[in-house]
Amino acid sequence: MFTIAEHREETPSIRTIRFRETLAATPAQFVMVWVPGVDEFPMSASFAGHGFGITYQILGEGTKALASKMAGDKIGIRGPYGNGFVLRGTRLLIVGGGAGMAALGPFVEEAVAKGAAVDVVIGARTADEILFEKRSIMAGGRIHISTDDGTKGQRGLATELAASLLSKERYDCIYACGPERMIVGLLKMATESGIPIQASLERLMKCGIGICDSCALDGKHVCKDGPVFSEADLRAMQDLGKTKLDRSGRKVPI
């Protein structure tokens, strides 16, 4: 069990928990978070090493229960699991939609620290819900904002903003985390422009260790082969953007 050091509000629907414990993790690697008596679910490590932390959106019963935890409370953490983003090149386009920035925040810091020039597109529903804008600026990224309702930055989808950047700049690699339709859109653009892409995917997870098959996606397992997949794997996924497995293993539309 890990002890909560700090629990803070990032946006009206997104929180960050920092722990007293240290846990090394690559950006996009995740942990299984156990809220005793309630549920266990995957969360990407938004802060690694000393002051390890997770950043989550309050969506269901589990995250609601997590949101009620305070400094000093203990929750179960196992991991880190999965692969992570791999730095490729020196000109990067990083696109985070909604809570997807949780996995990308630490990657922006790593990429800039290693000398990359980084354009960060942060997409959100509305101005209040923009995640890790300040963190990305502090890290040294060039920030571009899009909101669905136009309350801040460009009105529209993150993919539209990414498309206009792609038409002006040459990038070595695109990094993405967010809604799957956003990832599908970026994959299409990456393919058309001949740029590699790495995208972090999300699926229902039970074991987290590559055996139960709950997070299977065309024979790949998000928990073990992912959560980050590169263009070749992404293009081969017939389920991408279309279907996912529910708790019974039945394929349902996304």
């Binding site: 299984m32 008596g37 074991c207 497995l245 019974s248």
Partner: protein, 305 residues
């Protein structure tokens, strides 16, 4: 010439390793990957008549020498799952359809529907230790095992395997009951009923509180079970429990297993575990003058008449 092929109740396995039920088998594509990785046969996830979500998370606890799981038989129901079996069959290795039910009638109905999906054999899950009303709850007494096997046999023509629980005082009595009921083979063992408590949380970790222990920790129990069953029945025994290398498989084979299943080994070694076990088996056979797996089956027993 060393030969790894096995004839199991008429099923032709290119090697004695099988993917155990409940691992890597919710989707046809994943089962296909296991077949391509070298598994000699694939046992599907245990499926029932209706979709079932399984137990709430946490579903798994990682331990030093194994796993404790309480997945709770999640499955989309046999009608939907049939498409996954169709996809798995592309792999070209025998597919064994695992089923669970609440009584002999439900199991007979499922056996017939499972056969209709095109599987090569049916495995009866009489041993899941953590699903109320199913699995071990209808597989713990010889009377129930015999009845269920008889009903399943009467409902299908493909071979029927009975997967038995070690959570009993006499697993060989269960095996004898399965044989009386007409089962073509028995599979031993399913997981051992267990619990892990988090002192910090002051509660069991698993959402279902109770789960099933698998992996290296249970291997001696599995080997002993197969050893006892081999002396008690004439039908083939399939060994399972903590197999991840050639020596592990050899223990089961020498105890009397004709084939082995691998589940938790996929966690420790990935899908490469099937190829690894086969290579190591072949090396042992070369070094010890065996040319066929069947020559090693049961050799750990004192001269059998």
């Amino acid at each position: 010439m060393t030969h790894l092929g096995v004839d199991l109740c008429g099923l032709k396995l290119k090697n004695p390793t099988m993917l155990a039920s409940g691992v890597f088998d919710e989707t046809g594509r994943s089962m296909l990957e296991a077949a391509w990785a070298g598994a000699g046969a694939i046992v599907t996830k245990s499926v029932g008549a209706q979709p079932r979500h399984g137990h709430p998370n946490p579903c798994i606890v990682e331990l030093q020498n194994g796993l404790l799981n309480a997945m709770g038989l999640p499955n989309p129901g046999i009608d939907v799952y049939a498409a996954e079996i169709t996809e798995a069959k592309i792999g070209g290795v025998p597919i064994i359809g695992s089923i669970f039910g609440g009584d002999e009638r439900e199991i007979a109905d499922l056996a017939s529907r499972m056969q209709a999906t095109g599987v090569d054999a049916v495995e009866l899950n009489l041993s899941c230790p953590h699903a109320k009303g199913y699995g071990a709850e209808i597989g713990s007494t010889p009377e129930l095992v015999e009845t269920v096997c008889r009903h399943a046999k009467s409902a299908c023509n493909v071979p029927v395997f009975a997967k038995l629980t070690p959570n009993t005082s006499s697993i060989s009595s269960l095996a004898q009951a399965a044989e009386r009921g007409g089962a073509d083979a028995v599979v031993a063992i399913n997981t051992l009923k267990g619990m892990v408590i988090s002192p910090a949380a002051k509660m069991p970790i698993l959402g279902n509180r109770v789960g099933g222990l698998s992996g290296p920790a249970v291997r001696p129990v599995g080997v002993r079970s197969v050893y006892e069953i081999y002396e008690a029945v004439k039908i083939p025994v399939i060994g399972v429990g903590g197999i991840a290398c050639g020596n592990d498989a050899l223990e089961y084979i020498m105890a009397g297993a004709r084939a082995v299943q691998i589940g938790t080994g996929v966690w420790t070694d990935g899908l490469g575990v099937f190829g690894k076990v086969c290579r190591e088996l072949m090396q042992f056979m070369d070094e010890n003058g065996y040319s066929d797996i069947s020559e090693m089956v049961g050799v750990a027993h004192p001269a059998r008449p």
